[in-house]
Amino acid sequence: MPLILVGGLVFGFGLGFSHMARPEVVLDFLTFDDFGLLFVMFGGSIVAGIAFWTLPKLRGSAPLTGRPYGRRLKSFDRDVLVGGSIFGVGWGLSGICPGAAYASLGVGNWPILYAIGGMFVGAYAQGVWRSRDAGDAPAAAPGDD
């Protein structure tokens, strides 16, 4: 847990420093006014990629949890495209994504609570909808259309 906190602190500091916690900067990126955000995404993924590639060769599992070192691989299906498209509309409209929204709260940007509130509403709506598909919540009304 302390390590998770430290990791989160560095992660959040980086989001603040990169200005990605500001929706305006994201919107400027998406409308081709400032390509700087490419460095945030690629810089971050390259650093992570080096660790994901190196550590499994050095030792089998993580010291604190015993969890095997692996890569983040998720199965591909239509949901990735559907969800990615819905996320894309939301990101393009608001200029904010989950991690950057938490960081935005940290830089004192209180109006971001509208976005975080919206994210919980959206996450809840899809959760209710998809739990119903699983058949364990028969009383759930599909109220997310």
């Binding site: 200005h19 969890r67 940007n109 996450a123």
Partner: protein, 174 residues
């Protein structure tokens, strides 16, 4: 230093046009975002994404199966999110406005509440249906060279670019 090197490489005019705010803040910020991810991975083997927090936190108040599957991870995800908020606050205190002044550090967006809220709802639905967000797919997934994540990132990036430009072309204010 980074900006000077980039200006040498590409020519100052090009750099100003593509990166009006320079490169170093983005590059350094990105490296730190990656470093935060690596620290957690190093100790725990977890590839941490930010958007699962939305569902795992809902498991505190809802018993639905979609949320309940994240019960085991919900506590550390709260800690991770608090860390992100705290880290950004430290950044704001040091670099934003008057150094080390609480009152001078707050920055607020000009983007209107309806765009934030409606966009937030779509982000909440989309990241969870699409199995990841800019950190899960973008940092961890791309770092893992996961084909699913590469397709996911390409999808949300293209759609977001189209959306942002369409909204801007329609003359909708921030």
């Amino acid at each position: 230093m980074i900006d000077a090197a980039a200006a040498d490489l590409l020519g100052a005019g090009t750099v100003d046009a593509l990166f009006p705010n320079g490169i170093s803040r983005y590059a350094i910020g990105g490296l730190l975002v990656g470093l935060g991810t690596v620290l957690i991975y190093l100790g725990t083997g977890i590839t941490a994404g930010a958007s699962t927090f939305l569902e795992s936190t809902l498991s505190y108040v809802s018993g639905r199966s979609r949320f309940a599957q994240y019960r085991a991870s919900r506590d550390w995800r709260v800690v991770f999110t608090l860390g992100i908020i705290g880290g950004a606050a430290v950044y704001a205190l040091i670099y934003q406005g008057d150094p080390w002044s609480v009152a001078g550090s707050a920055w607020t967006t000009e983007v209107s509440p309806w765009r934030l809220f409606l966009g937030g709802i779509l982000v909440g639905i989309g990241t969870r249906v699409g199995k990841g967000c800019t950190s899960g797919h973008g940092i961890c997934g791309v770092g893992s060279v996961s084909r699913t994540s590469l397709v996911g990132v390409a999808t949300f990036l293209v759609v977001a670019i189209v959306t942002a430009n369409a909204v801007s072309a329609l003359g909708v204010g921030l």
